[in-house]
């Protein structure tokens, strides 16, 4: 039970990769610590009273909407999420839908929400909803995709036969870990769209901010030269700080 609670609090690594935030920031952005014993006092054992159960949705954990959904005091019914050891679905993958209105159709994954094992396929498994309905205004009809569970509703598609297949992670002769379709042993490569984050579509397409970003060539320059100096001695020489006094010898017993 404890492992499950730990897993249900954990944010998926695809989410963190997409956000470009350090994991510690994402964790602290949605944690709700109500009381923590002060550090540095041996009379207090480490204790933390905080919210343990969160409801993960399409709102990402660092957003305000997530915070409003998981406000202090809100109790939501438990959502059972099957823990998956090796995640095989990425943005831009071609998948086939197995259930629902669009059963048998293939589409491209637009969004992945790992915390709920969800996958949104572009244009498929949709429903219509009316937005902004008023007494005078009839409202606008909007089409939205519904999430599909990775374990039951969706399967990856073999790149050549274009049929739904079971997928395994295996190692190539070069030692690279790849997804392989079980029936035909063909490699399913990870799509280029999976590299996308909030800052860039892919690393080469990133536009550097000249005021705050160190350029790639600047960061790659090697300016280190080995010297027989400690770190502090090197800084003192660099800054021109002269110190002739030698402190008294101290001994450890």
């Amino acid at each position: 039970m404890r492992i499950y609670t730990y897993l249900s609090k954990k944010v998926g690594d695809l989410t963190i990769k997409y956000s470009n935030f350090p994991e510690s920031y994402v964790k602290r952005s949605f944690e709700q610590v109500y009381w923590r014993t002060p550090k540095g006092y041996p009379q207090y054992t480490d204790a933390e009273v905080s919210r343990k159960k969160f409801r993960f949705t399409t709102n990402r954990p660092w957003t305000g909407a997530f915070a409003r959904q998981n406000e202090r005091g809100t109790l939501r019914k438990k959502v059972f999420v099957e823990p998956i050891k090796e995640w095989s679905f990425f943005k831009g993958d071609r998948v086939e839908i197995l259930v629902g209105k669009d059963k048998g159709k293939q589409g491209i994954v637009a969004q992945v929400i790992q915390e709920r094992n969800w996958v949104f396929v572009e244009g498929l498994n949709t429903h219509l909803r009316v937005v902004g309905k008023d007494k005078e205004f009839p409202g606008i009809v909007v089409q939205n995709e519904a999430p599909l569970l990775v374990t039951t509703d969706v399967k990856l598609v073999d790149p050549e036969s274009l049929k739904a297949t079971e997928v395994e992670w295996r190692y190539t002769e070069d030692g690279e870990k790849v997804r392989v379709s079980v029936s035909s042993s063909r490699i399913i490569p990870i799509p280029k769209a999976a590299e996308e984050t909030t800052d860039y579509k892919s690393k080469e397409l990133y536009i550097e901010n000249p005021e705050k970003d160190t350029t790639a060539d600047e960061a790659a320059k090697i300016t280190f030269s080995p010297k027989l100096r400690t770190f502090e001695m090197d800084i003192m020489e660099e800054m021109g700080i002269k110190e002739d006094r030698v402190p008294a010898m101290s001994y450890w017993y």
Binding site: T214, A216, A219, A220, L228, M239, P247
Partner: protein, 164 residues
């Protein structure tokens, strides 16, 4: 009633009571609770300012810049932290790094590599020119080669760092 019936009834006897005296004469501060500088009753705070304070003064992680001598505080100027900030007017480095930089895979810089960088060239030259004596020590040692352990420690300690 026989004795076997009295024993369980003891659990029903009221054992908790409240203090009826004022805080200064009633419940005392126990050392297990953290009472930092602004907490506590007026008398507790007055006592903490004086020489006979019950609890250690909570410095909140800030270290003293001197020591107490004969009841007086002696300030040591070397203990006052000084921030050494280099001149950043010609610095090309910025706070963030571009995503385009390639991942750097670098092995650890070992002491062997430092030795090779500092001493190896002169040792090889001396060996080729025959300037090494029978035991292999150089006849004309350079500044680095003349360095003794005591002098090296003294040089390291001059910076004010005490980890050596």
């Amino acid at each position: 009633m026989n004795k076997s019936k009295i024993a369980p009834l003891i659990n029903l006897v009221c054992k908790r009571n409240i203090t009826l005296t004022t805080p200064r004469e009633g419940k005392r501060n126990f050392r297990k609770f953290v009472i930092p500088n602004k907490r506590g009753s007026r008398i507790h705070k007055i006592q903490q300012t004086g020489p006979n304070h019950e609890l250690p003064i909570d410095k909140r992680g800030v270290r003293d810049i001197g020591y107490m001598l004969n009841g007086k505080f002696v300030q040591v100027p070397e203990m006052i932290p000084e921030l050494i900030v280099p001149d950043l007017s010609n610095c090309t480095l910025k706070p963030y790094v571009s995503y385009k930089t390639e991942d750097v895979v670098q092995s650890e810089f070992s002491s062997q590599q430092l030795f090779d960088a500092v001493y190896s060239k002169k040792i090889v030259l001396d060996f080729k020119q025959g300037k090494l004596d029978e035991s292999g020590l150089p006849l004309q040692p350079s500044e680095e080669e003349k360095l003794q352990p005591k002098e090296a420690i003294a040089q390291a300690k001059r910076t004010g760092s005490d980890i050596f």
